[in-house]
Chain length 313, copies 2
């Protein structure tokens, strides 16, 4: 494989063909990163659709068959079942194969998967920090990873050469790559991803339960800020249930801090402490600016969202 | 003025030239809704900039002078000072003039402004449910109100003809118009706007205070969801302080409900109640769909945000 500019794999197995799996297929196609892309999904409809969309060359009816002969296997299923999937494909993993994943939590995943990894197989957990609120094989697109970070959390004894190769693969998919410990990853993501999503689900749930404000009013006047929460709260329910169940401690730690701060804000509102509120509302602006400067969000007002002009879909 | 298709005012006074004031100027220009637009802002720099941008015909150094001769006066200052501004301009309000505002809270505003309104002046509070996270005269644009709702909260004894005329004015600015009581408005907005903004400020504040996750990590990995919160949390601090101080009861009511729901979610996470989490994460999707169907948000993934491709600004 030396002599090629792009890190190249002979046969890549995508186990799971949802938003991330399909985007990986498209991203590999864009730069010719694999000679053959083999896909597996439990649902036959998904497998058929993947072939129609063309981001895989071939699909298999079971994960083991999709793994046979692969030199890169990427687990793109919800975090809750990766352990079972790893057990299923273990006998099909050849020596020297790189086994990775895209799950939103890493420490519990390492625990679930590691026992099943045969000797000589390079298990290197990974997590691309990118996504949308859409799910399924139709949601994927080649540019999803462009300019976003992908975090690798190699385990003790990971082969450095394999880590470099996987890192170059992600870069060729458009990502920037960072390496850190699984436990630290879970803490970082608890605040940058899990808390904002769970809070968004909670806001939308609270609004849905109101008896003093109708659902129609909530929808009509959502441009006041609420609609932003609903985007995050439209994400894949299975994925987010599994995140909650598998990153419990870090999430509860962030919930604790958030609740304390919320109580302080409530108190400031109740007692009319305008200065405390003004100070908080001012310092949060800097973080937004830094995110835009880092190229991680659009500088355009309202994310530059494109709205139907007449207010009707 | 009859015979014209557009509701037309001879002289419109914009008291306050920030995001909403400047957008109103542009929106009036777009459809020729005023013979003359006169602007006032406390800051000389803002007044000069407004003239340069051309969304006003003339500026005045005090609010009274800007009000002289106007048949429509729109208060576009932060909610906290509208009472004082109303007192200042009261002697300059001619009989038959429509006096309105764009503030995010209505009941306290009615209390603050009403005592100063001379007899024969039509005071009709209003609130366009539209905005961005940007502030100042450069932030305005003519399309801000297109397809969004504007809520009018006429007070007892409001002249129906004046209410209709103001309603037609907002429609000509691109809005759809609803009428409701001030107190109900404040409850509706507490959930559709105030709670989501305050929670966003709180999430960003909590992240900013962490000692286990660095600020650089929070920024780099913000594409996981956090960046959405930072947009709302970049809104105008003065406006949001005033919202908190002036809609206390409704906001605290929504905070109470939200906190209860959050405690229930925390408990479900702690005890691994996957079904409860899955159910919540599923029903919130419907609300997103309804908002898109109602034309109040973009159907595109990630709001269709336009990101720098190489991840650098």
């Amino acid at each position: 494989m030396s002599g090629k500019k792009e890190p190249h794999f002979e046969q890549v197995a995508l186990i799971g063909l949802g938003l991330i799996g399909s985007s990986l297929g498209h991203a590999m196609r864009r730069r010719g990163l694999a000679r053959e892309i083999v896909g597996f999904a439990r649902s036959e409809a998904t497998r058929t659709r993947a072939l129609e969309l063309g981001f895989v060359d071939r699909v298999e009816e079971n994960a083991g068959a999709a793994t046979d002969g692969a030199d890169l296997v990427i687990l793109c299923t919800p975090v809750g079942i990766v352990g079972a999937v790893a057990q299923e494909i273990a006998p099909h993993l050849a020596k020297g194969t790189i086994l990775t994943d895209v799950g939103s939590v890493k420490a519990s995943l390492v625990e679930d998967v590691s026992p099943h990894v045969p000797e000589g197989v390079h298990f290197i957990p990974g997590h691309p920090i990118s996504g949308t609120e859409k799910s399924g094989p139709d949601a994927g697109f080649a540019e999803l990873f462009d300019g976003r970070w992908c975090i690798l959390t190699p385990i003790d004894g990971s082969d450095p050469e394999a880590v470099v190769k996987l890192s170059q693969f992600w870069e060729a998919c458009g990502s920037k790559v960072d390496v850190m410990e699984a436990k630290h990853h879970d803490l970082v993501l608890a605040i940058t991803s899990h808390l904002p999503h769970l809070i968004a689900y909670n806001i939308v749930g609270t609004a849905d339960d109101l008896e003093t404000v109708t659902k129609s009013e909530v929808i009509k006047y959502s441009a006041g800020g609420f609609r932003d929460s609903t985007r995050l709260a439209a994400s894949d329910p299975t994925m987010w249930r599994d995140v909650c169940l598998n990153n419990r401690d870090a999430i509860l730690e962030m919930f604790g801090r958030f609740s304390e701060d919320l109580a302080a804000m409530q108190r400031a509102i109740r007692w009319g402490d305008g200065d405390a509120l003004f100070n908080l509302f001012t310092r949060t602006r800097d973080i937004r600016r830094s995110i835009i400067d880092a190229g991680q969000d659009s500088a355009a007002p309202n994310f530059g969202r494109d709205l139907p002009k007449d207010g009707e879909a």
